[in-house]
């Protein structure tokens, strides 16, 4: 797929995110929209995987640590062919395989159950350790939020990965600067994040998380790094693609139609406005870097 094709795919995924959140009536909008480009790059250009054979032993492992952005994971998995797109509308409904936070045994393509923050990186470390014992070639990717850098469990895993120099591990941090109680630097200051990881023996790359080519280049660089794990800090805009959601932390845990904003005071109109904006944009969500 061309870079332009990937950006169009990311836009389709964003539209599905809006539709499934509206159908669910609850769920996390901002992070899901913000990570659509990274997920598209991973599932359509980076990962070695077989959607029709989700348990294929040679697959790259992808751990979603901040499980609350599962709408983007589910939508991407459906677009990649793991299950029918028609199932997306069952998100958060009784009996659905699309649980409010992802559950490993419920749905094909999930490597783990997640939701409680700060535990995903350690599981990815465990997978990389197991892969190393068996001399496997597959890579482990861990997607995590900046908010969960508050958690002790994250830093326990950061240290362990540095200790064992797990070069097949790549963590991608969604650096969108928001968490539930406000801006990350107000809630619990995290910076300088890159220096902190480097001090623990990690290779660190900073990119614009809406530039799909940069995501691909960064993972290529991570694979070429043979002596240590890599952290890709993906700077993203929460709510990217929907103007009234962008950079507003109130959209962290709410679906369209629930938060009054100056630009869309009519809550009932929010979903329609969001979808119209996305349709107009098509593949034009690109980063400032382009």
């Amino acid at each position: 797929m061309t870079t332009e094709g990937l950006h169009k795919k990311a836009n389709e995924i964003r539209q599905d995110i809006i539709k499934m959140l509206v159908a669910a009536g609850s769920g996390h909008s901002a992070g899901s929209l913000g990570m659509a480009d990274v997920f598209t790059a991973l599932y359509f250009a980076i990962l070695h995987h077989k959607p029709k054979d989700p348990d294929w032993p040679g697959r790259d492992r992808l751990v979603l640590s901040n499980g609350h952005i599962c709408p983007v994971l589910y939508a991407t998995l459906a677009h990649a062919g793991y299950f029918p797109r028609s199932e997306l509308k069952t998100l958060r409904k009784l009996g659905s395989r699309l649980q409010g936070h992802p559950h490993r045994t419920a749905l094909p393509g999930l490597e783990t159950t997640s939701g409680p923050l700060g535990s995903g990186l350690a599981q990815a470390v465990g997978m990389a350790l197991a892969g190393r014992i068996d001399e496997e070639r597959w890579q482990v990717y861990c997607l995590m939020s900046d908010g969960e850098q508050d958690a002790g469990n994250t830093w326990e895993a950061v240290m362990l990965a540095g200790k064992y120099r797990l070069s097949k591990l790549t963590a991608i941090m969604d650096r969108n600067n928001i968490q539930i109680d406000g801006m990350t630097e107000d809630v619990l200051p995290l910076e300088p994040l890159a220096d902190k990881y480097r001090a623990f023996n990690w290779h660190v790359i900073e990119i614009d998380g809406h530039n799909i080519q940069m995501v691909i280049n960064a993972t290529n660089q991570a694979r070429a790094t043979q002596d240590r794990p890599t952290l890709i800090i993906a700077h993203t805009t929460p709510g990217k693609g929907v103007s009234f959601m962008e950079d507003d932390y109130r959209w962290h845990g709410n679906p369209p139609g629930t938060v009054e904003t100056e630009r869309t005071p009519e809550k009932r109109q929010q979903a329609r406005v969001a979808l119209r904006e996305l349709r107009t944009l098509q593949g034009k969500i690109t980063s400032e870097a382009e």
Binding site: D55, R61, V63, F83, P84, S86, E87, T90, K93, G95, S96, R97, H103, R104, T105, A106, L107, P108, E111, T112, T113, S114, G115, P116, G118, S119, A122, Q123, A124, V125, G126, M127, A128, L129, A130, G131, I133, D134, G152, N153, E156, A157, M159, L160
Partner: protein, 359 residues
């Protein structure tokens, strides 16, 4: 008595070995049997008896440091990738400190991590209450998918370790620090989910687990001299509970004393009471720690202070017999409900069972 027991078990010179030693021996055997067995430890390799495994297979051993949350979650990741991790620390730290990680990434995730909690009970001794786990059975048996085992001596701990290896899901095994009298032999059988009748009797049943099974046997011996014949059940698997044996005990003896080195709240006694209240209510007395923290002291002093010795079990037996006489006997005919299986439910070969799509 069908079960093989140590003939010296009631003698003053009975052999005493820490229960945790059996785990160390079992772990090495597990490592020999299955190359996917890996061990993880949080800076307590020697005292949790993980050392022999770590020396023999350094490439299959992961030292995570003083990081119990990492211990559970790294193990979860390894298990999701085909390994069978055994993780050890003191039980106050694992499953104490990392309980949520165990809940989400091991139990709910349904991966075969074996959590080994060492240093349980007040008999940990001089280290004091911070290191004496008295709540671990309660927090672990509340978790769906989790099997909970409290072996009575080092030989049973070795058997439990190998049984945990065979079980396809998550398991918790609780160990104790101090030398404990050896009541079983190398020939004693062990089956997950199945209790063992260590002593027959029809006047009452003492249901015990872990290090206090020895005290239960001593108490039964004292009671016998007073012409009271107590049945002693070794309920090593606290979950799933051996409901069939409990129903027989309630029906045939009509009185229960539960015995454990754990808080009364939520422990073995609680599990027994939950079951019998629903299926065959009989008077029950509880030997265990009464909603208190432990403290420093010699193990024997602490067992006495917290009323966990054989004489306390004898007193409880007399109390329960009084209550039994004051209430009408329960009907002799008793239907064993289907839910009281002796063994854990059979699982599909593939652990990744999936729900059908909702349309």
């Amino acid at each position: 008595m069908d079960t093989h027991l140590n003939p010296n078990r009631l003698q003053a010179n009975v052999e005493q070995v820490p229960i945790r030693n059996g785990y160390g021996a079992g772990l090495v055997k597990a490592g020999e049997k299955n190359r996917n067995v890996v061990a993880l430890c949080a800076d307590l390799t020697e005292s949790t008896r993980t050392e022999d495994f770590a020396v023999r297979w350094p490439e299959r051993f992961v030292e995570v440091g003083v990081a119990e949350q990492d211990l559970a979650t790294v193990a979860s990741g390894m298990a999701a990738t085909g390994k069978i991790p055994f993780v050890t620390s003191y039980a106050t730290f694992s499953p104490g400190r990392n309980w949520e990680q165990i809940r989400t990434t091991i139990a709910y995730n349904d991966v075969p991590v074996k959590v080994i909690g060492s240093h349980t009970g007040v008999s940990v001794g001089p280290d004091g209450a911070t290191h004496q786990a008295l709540e671990d059975i309660a927090i672990m048996r509340a978790l769906p998918n989790m099997v909970v085992i409290a072996p009575c001596d080092y030989l049973e701990a070795e058997r439990a370790t190998l049984a945990a290896l065979k079980h396809p899901g998550p398991v918790y095994i609780r160990l104790a620090r101090e030398a404990t009298p050896v009541v079983t032999t190398k020939a004693t059988p062990f089956k997950l989910g199945q209790s063992q009748e260590f002593r027959s009797g029809t006047d009452l049943t003492i249901v015990a687990c872990g290090s206090l099974v020895y005290e239960a046997l001593m108490a039964a011996d004292v009671l016998s001299k007073k012409h009271v014949e107590a049945r002693v059940l070794n309920m090593a698997t606290v979950k799933p509970l051996d409901g069939k044996a409990l129903l027989h005990a309630a029906r045939e003896t009509g009185a229960i004393v539960s015995v454990e080195e754990h808080q009364i709240t939520g422990g073995l006694g609680g599990a027994v009471a939950e079951f019998l209240a629903a299926h065959a209510p009989v008077p029950q007395e509880f030997i265990g720690v009464q909603d208190q923290f432990g403290e420093s002291g010699a193990p024997e002093e602490l067992l006495e202070k917290f009323h966990l010795k054989s004489q306390d079990i004898v007193t409880a037996a007399q109390r329960v017999l009084d209550r039994k006489q004051k209430q009408p006997a329960i009907p002799r005919v008793c239907v064993v409900p289907k839910s009281t299986r002796r063994t854990p439910p059979k699982r599909a070969a593939r652990t990744r069972t999936r729900k059908k799509a909702v349309q």
